[in-house]
Amino acid sequence: MNSLSSLASNVIRLSAGNCMQYSITYQDKTVETDKLGYLLNVKDWQSELAPILAEQENIKLTENHWEVVNFVRNFYLTFNTSPAMRALVKAMAKEFGPVKGNSRYLFKLFPKGPAKQATKIAGLPKPAKCL
């Protein structure tokens, strides 16, 4: 028992020593992020964080942005995956119709890529690199 528990604490110390820590501080709360500013824990997200994350992307959130951000977050919470572009367009079209379910509309709101930027603002993990 003793040797096992000392092994466990070693592992934790090692991983803490190896990784750089990044975080955002707001309203005297500190939230851990990765190097690019994506939240490390989906549950840390609150709507107050969205404008702060959006500012890092040079985006001022409008009602239309919020619609996508909330949609992407719900998609993740339901299917455990952030939608890639194609799926986002299709799912948005199903929910809001073709005017909002198209890539031109979404790119206008999130110029550097809706999949990338909307997920970040919604507090979701960074999408897989190979997509």
Binding site: C19, M20, K35, A128, K129, C130, L131
Partner: protein, 129 residues
């Protein structure tokens, strides 16, 4: 005459599949057929670990893949996401992820699955090992 692409999803050494893939690749480049590329996915990404060391009397699969590229210009590509999860990482990603080392063999390119989709589209046959 046919064009081929190969998908390797098995690790070197612990299984025969990756060796068979290499032998199949050799057979293609030594025939009138063409080999458009070899793509490594799942445990196949271990084939790109340049820190693999084999005893001198055993076949060195990692070096052999690299030689295949040198002699026949066959692209050796791997899925960056599958590779990262297994600790096979290139210099740039190591820097981005604050990892203290990198081990991707220079003959291999760690890229997206989009390249695999292209390979499949360009060739008559895709063979998985």
């Amino acid at each position: 005459m046919a064009s081929f692409s190969i998908l390797v999803t098995s690790s070197p050494y612990s299984s025969q599949n990756a060796y068979s893939a290499y032998r199949f690749a050799q057979a293609i480049v030594n025939s009138s057929h063409t080999l458009a590329g070899v793509f490594f996915y799942c445990d196949g990404t271990h084939n790109a670990n340049r820190l693999s060391a084999f005893p001198s009397d055993e076949f060195n699969l990692v070096q052999s893949w690299a030689a295949l590229k040198t002699h026949y210009q066959v692209p050796l590509l791997l899925c960056v996401t599958a590779a990262l999860k297994r600790g096979v990482i290139n210099e740039q990603d190591a820097k981005e992820l604050d990892l203290d080392s990198h081990n991707l063999h220079a003959a291999f390119d760690s890229i997206g699955l989009g390249e695999f989709a292209m390979l499949q589209g360009q060739t008559d046959r895709l063979v998985q090992f």
